[in-house]
């Protein structure tokens, strides 16, 4: 039951905390504080017994025990809660914890607007219990009285109607579900508007009175907050209608309400306004009278300037007459909401620390901030008994953290506050207060002040290793500092920052802190940096994170740490100073050896380094080979885009290869070197996956195009040899499983999965290549003996290629191979020994099962005649 009570009252407590103290004069403040205290007790089951005994003591001998007899202020509530079903109790219990947390959060940012709160309440406080509406609506007598009647008749009519609805036709609706109830209230809201627009003001008033009467019924307590919202909506509507009507009666209705003075209200408007007040003053029951008068509170401004200010305390005092604490507190909340809406904010001057604290929590942060100096003075005057000052400064700091005090007061505020804070003995109390003020300091001051604050914190927290118990607070200090120092060179140049970090000696916390530092760094660091201060500090921070990785670390954890470290590495740039960059990479490599993604990142960095460095070399073959090598390394480290870049660079470098190069002081043809390189390149290309944005076999085509365009040596058939050596590559590429692959790199085999289109593409390429070779062979045939010799050897190598890689089951290909064989033997330039061995090999092949076509072919191959 205690929990359930907490459930019902927690919201109220919030409201009271946040609202109640705003507009009450000192004299009336004791009420809310009394309520607040009992509500606070209700919050914690541990304290309930205590509060009960206290209440018992105050009551004296009136009741022997705090049973559910409704003899004390709070008891009707508990008696009502006896019927709570276990389910809602369970829900309440879970809600309790959440709400506590919310409470802490809610106060932080700003005064929550009612509109937001409203929806939240409606969503949260629901019930499945049956509800009832008890309305006493008069019959349709509420029509406007005939125009001929005298004033007294009118008044009499209206009063009769009022009586009528109090005694007359009573309509009771029982067993309504919550939705029915809400609908019904909405209907009432509609009929209020209708009545108003059809000039049935009395009926409108009647509806409002009846509705507010519902608020004195707390029978389904879970629903009460929602009911409160629904009904105050109606009241708001009513208040607005009345206000607007009176405003429209004023001669110059265009005057904005804030510059409004009662002097410019004409008599008719005033009279109408007075009429409303007199009418409402004669409402018999307390709760409706209170609510309805509160609803038209702002109409007071038509009558006198100080009207609202005078009425508010009176209405507040009136609430004391409400016996049910829940109803009373909600009434108070309503009044306070109106009070804020009307723009009345009164300072509550009190020397009670508890009150002052509540005031600071309740008021808008801007309000507190604007008067921060006054608050400090008040806090100083405060009686410290029962409520320590550091809590007060904590509350003040919380307000100042979200709103800015006047600029010229800021330093003195900080000085005054810190003077008190630094004297707090208990490290726990100290840090909880200091933590709050860090935000204020960071917002308005430079690193010097923040540094001072940090050193003060270190001074307080180091003795007896007090920091061990306050990691959450210390962590929050860091979190508050970080958003304000985007420039890390400033942050790390704060002398006490790193020593502060050293206080985090528990590994998990330490890593947390490092992580948040890195997050901020990555988020805010725009430009790459080479600042040694930042690098050293961050390297240290990253190392801390890295070192926390062990066998038990989860993959996710590893991934996120790696990401952070990578983000750091990416931001390090020494510009053109590649040596520095490389040495940084080496250092990083040594430091972060446990995290694979980091290593990859480092390889990236190295790759980038190579990419930048290679062009500076003069030897073109070194360049080519290094590109190839770097590409292979990059590929091996899954740096696909880097690898791509290397290969592309290599391809585009090809045309620049001179035909003659100097080797060991002699001029030599570059051709053999080039062929070597290209063959090497081709074999690498097998595993290079296609770039997703480029056409199929982009690199292979690129390379072949380059080969075609290259100005080869006159009479050289190097080009054709390249074509021939490309054929095995293409053949290999069309396999389902490639001969070799690089771990963790998906080659084209996986990317295309032997897609027919892909294979067709390869076939086309092969055809083109073979066509080129055959053309070349043809042209060679026209030449002299040298040409024929070349022809023979080329034809033989193409034959060998087809034999090794071609599908000779294909008749055309088979025939082509035979033709090639014959061509190579035609002029007798063929090396006999090779031919014989090849034929033997073919025959051997043909004997293997399924190779019948080969043996067939062997029969058709004739050896060269020795003639």
């Amino acid at each position: 039951m205690d929990v359930a009570r907490g459930h019902a009252l927690l919201f109220v407590l919030l409201m009271v905390c946040r609202l109640s103290f705003m507009c009450l004069c000192t004299e009336t403040l004791e009420v809310p504080s009394h309520l607040l205290r009992s509500l606070l007790c209700a919050l914690s089951p541990r304290q309930v017994t205590d509060s009960k005994t206290r209440k018992g003591g105050r009551k004296g001998s009136t009741s022997s025990s705090s049973s559910s007899s409704s003899s004390t202020a709070a008891d009707p509530l508990s008696s009502m809660l006896d019927g709570t079903d276990p389910l809602s109790m369970f829900a309440a219990a879970s809600e309790l914890g959440r709400r506590r947390r919310e409470k802490e959060e809610e106060v932080g940012p700003d005064f929550e607007p009612w509109s937001a709160k409203r929806g939240e309440i409606l969503g949260r406080f629901t019930t499945t219990e049956k509800l009832s509406i008890n309305l006493f609506m008069g019959s349709d007598k509420g029509k406007a009285s005939s125009p001929g009647s005298t004033v007294s008749e009118k008044v009499r009519n209206r009063l009769e109607e009022l009586d009528d609805m109090e005694e007359g036709s009573q309509r009771e609706m029982l067993n309504l579900s919550q939705q029915d109830y809400v609908n019904r209230i909405e209907e009432l809201n509609q009929s209020l508007k209708e009545a108003w627009s059809s000039d049935q003001k009395v009926k409108a008033l009647k509806i409002v009175i009846q509705c507010s009467k519902l608020l004195s019924d707390t029978s389904v307590i879970q629903f009460y907050p929602s009911k409160f919202v629904l009904i105050t909506d109606i009241l708001d509507t009513f208040g607005r209608l009345v206000y607007e009507r009176i405003l429209s009666m004023c001669s110059d209705a265009s005057t904005p309400p804030d510059t409004f003075s009662p002097d410019c209200v004409n008599d008719t408007a005033k009279e109408t306004c007075l009429n409303w007040f007199f009418k409402i003053a004669s409402i018999r029951e307390l709760v409706p009278r209170l609510y309805v008068e509160a609803a038209i509170l702002n109409c007071n401004c038509f009558l006198s300037k100080s009207g609202v200010q005078e009425t508010l305390p009176r209405l507040t005092a009136m609430i004391r007459g409400i016996g049910d604490p829940l109803v009373a507190v909600y009434a108070r909340a309503y009044l306070c909401r109106l009070g804020t809406a009307v723009g009345i904010v009164r300072m509550a001057l009190s020397h009670s620390a508890l009150l002052l604290n509540s005031v600071m929590w309740a008021f808008r942060a801007e309000f507190v901030a604007a008067r921060a100096t006054d608050f400090i003075a008040m806090i100083k005057d405060c009686d410290e008994a029962g409520f320590p000052k550091h809590l007060l400064f904590g509350s003040l700091g919380r307000s100042l953290a979200c709103a800015d005090p006047p600029e010229n007061e800021r330093l003195s505020i900080l000085n005054e506050a810190w003077k008190v804070i630094t004297k707090v003995r208990s490290p726990q109390d100290y840090i909880s207060c200091a933590e709050i003020w860090v935000e204020f300091t960071c917002r308005h001051f430079t690193k010097r002040e923040v540094n001072t604050v940090l050193s003060d914190i270190i001074k307080h927290m180091t003795p007896d290793r007090a920091f061990e118990d306050t990691y959450p607070q210390l962590q929050s200090v860091i979190n508050k500092i970080l958003p304000h120092f985007h420039d890390f060179s400033v942050l790390f140049s704060m002398e006490r920052f790193l020593p502060f970090l050293d206080m985090f000696q528990k590994d998990s916390v330490r890593v947390e802190v490092c992580r948040s530092i890195m997050e901020v760094f990555i988020k805010h660091q725009q430009e790459p940096t080479r600042d040694p201060v930042i690098l050293n500090a961050l390297l240290h921070v990253c190392k801390t994170m890295h070192d926390s990785v062990n066998a038990l670390t989860l993959d996710d954890e590893k991934r996120s740490i790696s990401q952070l470290i990578n983000g750091f590495i990416r931001m390090v740039s020494f510009g053109r100073d590649f040596e520095q960059q490389l040495s940084f990479c080496v250092e990083a490599r040594a430091t972060f050896c446990n995290l694979e993604p980091v290593l990859i990142q480092l390889v990236h960095a190295c790759a980038a380094y190579s990419f930048i460095t290679i062009p500076s070399l003069t030897s073109i073959f070194s360049r080519l080979n290094l590109y190839l090598l770097s590409g292979q390394v990059a590929l091996a480290n899954q740096c696909l885009s880097q690898a791509d870049a290397f290969f592309k660079a290599a391809v585009s470098l090809l045309p620049e290869v001179p035909r003659v190069i100097g080797v060991e002081g002699k001029l030599r043809s570059s051709e053999p070197f080039l062929l070597d390189f290209i063959n090497n390149f081709l074999s690498t290309l097998l595993v290079v996956p296609d770039h997703p944005e480029q056409a199929v076999l982009y690199l292979v085509r690129g390379l072949l195009n380059m080969v075609q365009d290259y100005t080869w040596e006159e009479g050289s058939d190097a080009k054709v040899r390249v074509y021939i050596s490309a054929l095995p590559l293409l053949a290999a590429m069309s396999q389902e499983t490639y001969l070799y692959s690089i771990p963790k790199v998906d080659s084209n085999e996986t990317l295309y999965g032997s897609d027919p289109k892909f294979v067709a593409e390869i076939n086309k390429l092969c055809e083109t290549l073979i066509g080129q070779v055959l053309d070349h062979l043809k042209s060679l045939g026209r030449e002299e003996a040298a040409g024929v010799r070349k022809q023979s050897s080329l034809a033989f190598s193409l034959f060998g290629c087809l034999l090794a890689h071609g599908n000779l089951q294909n008749n055309k290909l088979n025939q082509l191979a035979i033709n090639l064989w014959n061509l190579s033997h035609k002029h007798g330039y063929c090396e006999t020994r090779t031919s014989v061995r090849t034929l033997e090999h073919i025959k051997q092949l043909g004997q293997q099962p399924g190779m019948a076509h080969i043996s067939d072919m062997a029969l058709r191959l004739s050896l060269q005649s020795r003639a």
Binding site: R58, S152, R320, G321
Partner: protein, 297 residues
């Protein structure tokens, strides 16, 4: 043919004092021109006394045997016989509120047995064939502020079972102790009745605390006089088991028309009282009565 006659007083609250003049316009709205035999205004102030059936016989009460007392009656002509053009015509007037002789203008008061009412009537006399038009409107008279300084004299009270009179079974009464204070029993009619009330202790929870405003009207006539107390309004100031030892404000606005400064004449009297009514949960009703003296300053 639509023809309407209306009186519009300049003052929105229609409150006048002796010696002042009622100003306003007579508004005639008509589609066509109207022929008339003159338009006049009549001011009338009357005290209507009614004997309650409790004090006198049913028949006398029924027949309203007491003659109304005329306080003022005067007539002026606004427009001479003639023709009023079609459309809306506004005829301004100024009608001084003067009493003849040594008569006194009492304040407007609407009660049960005593009614003091002032009316302004506009008559448009018309030819024999057409009906005369009449429009009446009530205006309020407030008497001149009474002389003499009003000293607020707070009244403290304590209600316990022992202080009660008219108790049937004193032993059955639960224990309670209620202290309170009225800031004044001589009240200014325009100011609310204020004070506070504290439930120091109550054995039985309180159900409701109310302020009951009561009028006491006395009509004197040849056959003797009748004195009747009736409720004007009842204002709840506390509902449910209120917090003990916490002062609850007493606050009641005196309703207009239904209250007037306490009045004592040779023929009738109008007085007011307030009852503090405490209803306990076991439906015990505890009432404390305070006579009030209302005045206007």
């Amino acid at each position: 043919m639509s023809l309407s006659l209306d009186i519009r007083l300049k003052r929105a609250n229609k409150v006048y004092h002796e010696g002042e003049a009622l100003t306003g316009v007579v508004v005639i709205v008509s589609k066509e021109a109207v022929q008339h035999q003159g338009i006049s205004l009549t001011m009338e102030g009357l005290v209507n006394l009614q004997l309650s059936s409790k004090s006198v016989g049913v028949f006398e009460a029924f027949y309203n045997s007491v003659k109304p007392i005329q306080l003022i009656s005067s007539n002026i002509e606004v427009v001479k016989p003639g023709k009023i053009p079609g459309g809306k015509t506004e005829i301004p007037f100024e009608f001084p509120l003067h009493v003849k002789g040594n008569k006194v203008l009492y304040e407007t008061y609407h009660g049960v047995f005593v009614n003091i009412q002032y009316t302004l009537r506009c008559d448009m006399k018309r030819s024999l064939l057409a009906k005369d038009l009449t429009k009446t409107c009530e205006f309020m008279v407030h008497c001149q502020p009474q002389n003499g300084k009003l000293q607020p004299s707070p009244v403290d009270f304590t209600i316990t079972p022992e202080t009660l009179q008219n108790v049937r079974e004193r032993t059955a009464l639960p224990k309670f102790m209620i202290r309170g204070r009225l800031d004044a029993t001589s009240c200014i009619i325009t100011q609310p009745l204020t004070g506070e009330l504290t439930v120091e202790m109550s054995e039985v929870p309180i159900k409701s605390i109310e302020l009951q405003l009561v009028r006491v009207e006395t009509c004197g006539c040849a056959e003797g006089y009748a004195r009747d107390a009736t409720e004007i309004q009842n204002i709840q100031i506390a509902e449910g088991a209120v917090c003990h030892s916490l002062p609850i404000p007493i606050y009641m606005v005196f309703p207009r028309l239904f209250t007037c400064p306490t009045l004592e004449t040779t023929n009738f009297k109008v007085e007011f009282e307030v009852n503090v009514v405490i209803v306990l949960h076991d439906d015990h009703l505890i009432t404390e009565n305070f006579p009030l003296k209302l005045c206007r300053v």
